[in-house]
Structure formats: C-alpha cells, structure tokens
Symmetry: C3
Subunit: 259 residues, 3 copies
C-alpha cells in the first residue's frame, strides 16, 4: 500500500535552534523512508495554538491531495488531552486535540476524526513531554504509507474546535481583527474577499486607508495600503516597510471597513 512521493508537512513551535524537529524527521524516515517531509513552519510563537491553526488554514490548500499535515503546538502534552488524526476529502491532519487542527477541518463535509491510540502506530515507550516524536510523527508516517485512519483508534465525536473570530456588519461598517502578522509586518485580517466590494475606507487604530490597492508597490514608500492578500483575506501593508511597526499593530487589533 506504499504511496511513493507522499508528502508530510510539519508545523510546530519548536523553532530552528533545537534538534526536536530533526528527531521527528528521523522517526518518520524510519517508518516511511519515501515520504517527502516539508516544513510548513517551526516559527509558531511558543504554545500559540491560534497562530498554528491559521497557518494550517492558509497553507494546507496548496499541497497535493492526500498530504499528511502534522501540527505540534501542545502545551497539554503528557496530560489527558487526546491525540487526533483527521481525514478530509483533501488531506490528513495529525496533532493534539486542542483546536490546533480545527480551522483546517471545521465545516469540511465528510471530515472523519479519530483518536490516535493503537499501540502499533505509536513509538514505545511514550514520553510525557515529546508526543511529536512518540505519537504524531509515527502516526503521520504510517498514514503516509497508506495505513487507514480507522486503524489508529476510535472515532472522536467532540474534537476541540477553536472559535474562528467572526466579522460583524453594522450598517455600512464591517468590523474584524488582525489574525496574523508575517515577517514583513503585513497584517492579515479575518475579513473575507466577498466583503470587499465597494470598500471606501479601512481603519486600524488611528490610521485610515482610502480604498483597496491592487498590489504592494502601488503605495508610495512607507505608505499604508489595504489589499486582498494571497490568502484571500484583507491585508494591511506598508510598501517597502512594516505595517506592524509603522502602525504599532498587534494580533487581535480591530480593523474596520467602511463600504
């Protein structure tokens, strides 16, 4: 049942300075030497489940069908939180039952959620501090070889679902918030493209941006602009600069769109 060329992605808060990510890859190589392992990112802020959930939400659609996505942001490791494997029509997801996977499968028709519990697919002895190595990497490697999700453990009816921050609409004003800030200081919001028709102004803090730009370079150097970014969310950017720095913005800050 081997699937040559199958892809496993890793998303963690392990950073790039320690050997933990490499060790997970060693465990995977021991189970499925043919898997191609791709780092989605290891730069999630320590224990920031929402940040990782966002990364999976925007990243998973660009991988081949059947890719196994592993997320390890796991402050509850060793306690009684469950370990999950999820199958959707497009991909497989593996990680702790703390909501980190939930934005990538909530609302997806036909999503199947299982607990990872069967001994044959786990590394023994299981440590109490590193399930990335002992539970999630082995389960993902087995799935990438074609093991069926049902073999890993029993169905889970009530996985933890992280609430996705909603936008609200009040007359001609949509209110949303900053969801994610990237390395360039671009601010990604939860405001969707179908809200953008006839955007008159975008307001964040005491900055007002008139209308939407088509691309970064439309703004003069250092000028804040709003545009629909590559993730299909409304984004606030500063041409050749950091919007986060320039506007003093943080994740969670309110963004208002006037139509």
């Amino acid at each position: 049942m081997s699937r040559r060329g199958s892809v496993i992605t890793l998303t963690t808060d392990f950073g790039n300075a320690d050997p933990w990510v490499g060790i997970m890859k060693g465990v995977i190589a021991g189970i499925n030497p043919d898997a191609a392992v791709i780092d989605l990112t290891h730069g999630i802020s320590p224990q920031n489940i929402r940040e990782a959930a966002f990364v999976l939400l925007v990243g998973t659609p660009f991988f081949p069908k059947g890719t196994v996505h592993v997320a390890v942001v796991d402050p509850g490791v060793g306690g009684d939180r469950r370990a999950l494997a999820v199958e959707t029509p497009d991909c497989l997801l593996v990680g702790p039952d703390n909501g980190v996977l939930s934005w990538a499968f909530r609302g997806v028709e036909g999503a199947v959620v299982r607990e990872i519990r069967e001994a044959g697919y786990i590394r023994e002895p299981v440590s109490s501090t590193f399930h990335g190595r002992d539970v999630f990497a082995p389960a993902a490697a087995h799935l990438s070889r074609g093991v069926r999700i049902g073999a890993l453990g029993p169905p889970v009816a009530d996985p933890v679902i992280l609430e996705f921050p909603r936008t609200t609409k009040d007359g001609r004003t949509i209110r949303g918030e900053v969801l994610y800030i990237d390395r360039f200081g671009n601010l990604m919001t939860n405001i969707r493209p179908d809200d953008r028709q006839g955007v008159r102004e975008v307001v964040i803090g005491n900055t007002t941006i008139r209308g939407l730009s088509a691309y970064y370079g439309e703004g003069g150097d250092g000028q804040a602009i709003a545009l629909v970014g590559s993730t299909d969310f409304l984004e606030i950017a500063v041409n050749r600069g950091s919007a986060a720095e320039r506007l003093g913005a943080r994740v969670g800050d309110e963004v208002r769109v006037s139509l």
Copy 2:
C-alpha cells in the same frame, strides 16, 4: 521527460517563521513530486536584492548541473516587472526581473533569458502579492520536469542587470568594499584572489591587518585577520569572534589592500 533526482533551490527573504516557503514547496510537490528541494537561504534581509544576488553568485556553482535555482526577493510583485527564467550551460534560474538573478548569469556565454508568461506553467488565479507561489514555484517545477525554457514565454533582450561593485586600482592600492557579512561576522569583500599576490596590508576603517593568513585559527583569539575565503573573495575575520562586531563594519564599507 522526467528527470529523477532533479534539484530545485530556493532563495528568499521570507524568513523561517511564516508558512510562505512551505507553501511554495507544496506547489512544487504537486507538479514534480520527484524534485529535491533545497533551501539555499530564506534569511535574505527583507527586499535586499543585492544580498540575494550575492548568495546565488557564490552558491550556484556547488549544485549539480541542471539544478533550477529560484530566487524570490520581489518588492515589485504584482506590478509590471517581468518574471524571468534563465538557462545557462550549468543551471536554470527563476525569479523576478529586478536583478536578483543577474550576478549568476551576467557574462555567462550562452545564457538564454525568457519571460515566464504562458498560462500552462503558472498557477491560476495569480495573486498580486505572492508570485513565489503562483509563478516562480510552478515554473521551476515544470523546468525541473524537463519542460524547455522556450515553452515558458518570449525571449527577453534587456533583463535588469545589477551592477557588480568593482574594485579600483590606484598605484599599489586596491579599493573594494564589504559585499556580505555572514552569521559569524566574517566580512566578504569584492576583492578577487588574483589581486592578492604580494598583499602587504588590508585596511578597513581604522584597522590595519598585516598580510594574509592561511586560515581562521592563525589569528590569536579576538585578532582581525584577512584571508581568501571559501567563496574565493578576500575575507576579513576575527578568530573565535565577529569581525563585523569587533570592527563595527557594515556592507558597503570600503576595504583597501596595499601591495
């Protein structure tokens, strides 16, 4: 026409904290699952085209013939700058037409430059902010499968060529500059090995270094030395320390060699 084991390298200013690099690899895996993708670096300073051009210049010679090198340092993304694919006798290069590729192909006999424009080799719809994902990764993946560069689009007669900083010689003095500073604080200059015969002194700021060393350890701890580095350029280093810190040096600083 599949070429098993073909290599694609990535050089970007995306850093390691965001999912953008992983997403590019997902797109590549969807087109050519057999490509081996190697990170040359994602630590280019944001929008620093010259730094990426230097990395390609010193990095590309060490990869197998036929490797596809992708560079995405792209402040003009979404505007009217062209997307380029270049073929030299040794490698293929893919990136924006802003000079980032130019040090790796200028002066190379037989280099062919094409615009990436044909719809079949681009991901639709093309976003206005992430051509790494929508244009450069797909084009590179297709090239790595054996698609001919001519299929991607029309020839480009006037690609942007970044001027390479020249050294000047005045009597017994060669003047050059610091081109690149690495993690160790080693200063790499634009002064070439054929200039090094009979080097008497190397001067940077108010530091004078006598003669060339053969290797880092020749200097006492904390002492500045000059040597011909692994990139064949004259390098200034501090044994078990950072020359950048110790000498307060920056990219662009003048370096003088007395013969």
Copy 3:
C-alpha cells in the same frame, strides 16, 4: 552498492541566514542524489562544540540504522586538526576531530574511527575555511552510497574525546549541572533517570522544587517543576513559561537532587 533512501543529518553552527548549509546539500546532491538530508539543527551557538555534542548524543538514537550524521562546529578549520569518520553498529559520524562527535561514540563497543584523507572522497581544491563543503559533505555523501569507512583514510587511535560532565553523589545529594537549554527555556541536566528514585527535592540557584512531576501541565502556570524529559535526563521546566528566564539559569549551573 547504492542504498536508496539512505539518510544524512547535518548539525552545524551555520545558522539559517547564510547559504553555507544549502551549499553543503548541493555538494551532497552531486554525489548521492538519492540521499535524504535532514537538518538536525543549524542553531548551535557559534563554535560551541559541547552544545553540538549534546545534540548528537540525544538526536542520533532516533534515526534509522546506517544514518550518516555530519557535525560541523569547527573553529580549527584549516589548521592541523584531523577530519574524522566514525562507524558504530548503529550509525556513521562525520566531522572534525575536536570532540564534537565524541559523546555519540565514546563507550560504544565496536566503534571504528578513521581519518578522512583519501583524495577521491574530498572536493578539490580544499578551501582553508569551509571543510563542511569540501571534506565533510563529500565524505558523508560517499558513505551514504555505501563506500566503506576504511576507504576514507587510516585508523585513528586517539580521537579527541570531550569529557562528559559527571554527576557526583555525596550522602543523599546528587550534584549535576545544566547541559542544554532549549527554545522553550527548559533546562536539561546531566542527571540520569536511574538517579531519580525517591527524589525529594531538586535545587537550582535559590529555587527548590519538591518531587518530580509526570508532565509539564502538572505545574500551575509559571511554576517551576522537575521531570524526566524526553532525552531521559532530569529536566527543569516552567509550565507555559521559560525556566531559563524565570530562574535566570544558564548552561553549567549546578543542580542538586536530594533523595
């Protein structure tokens, strides 16, 4: 003699901002395109041989049998220190003869140590500053293809062995030290699990921790705990926080266990 799917790991102090790691991978791809190269870490503090030795000690056991582990933390590069290849019953090790490999093979029965010297397995000309590229990557790539270690050069009877910090026992008190601090600020010590029976208190600086916890989440938020970590060493952690920061701890700090 090709071994498909053979694994090579890299451990360096090169960081992720420069192209040096990518260049090593290019050299490996040119010699063995089928090798799977895994980064163990490139975040070793510059020239910190002990840190890399620890990473190899805790990381190598989780890779498939026959994996080739390359370590390049090499302040003596270009001088007269030897280049080593080591074979144990489980793995191969490649790196400079400065002790960086030694914790991964000292005391391992049947370990064979050879100098890397034969011209056919080295990249010519050998630079005086980058043996990762010119000596260690090529040797590892050849070993991963099935070249026998004996072909690389003569036996080495006296490789540099780094002293592993010992614990001492005085009455009911074991004294050890902090060996490694990871991204989360967890403090890993040299105190082994067989010392942990009946642990009454763990003391570091002016902090006293009562007994051992089973997992991180057992502590209240911000509370220091001690537990046996995933590396089988006694570890000091702070639930949802950094023990290093909270306790002001550093590598080398004394840790006392009262039984």
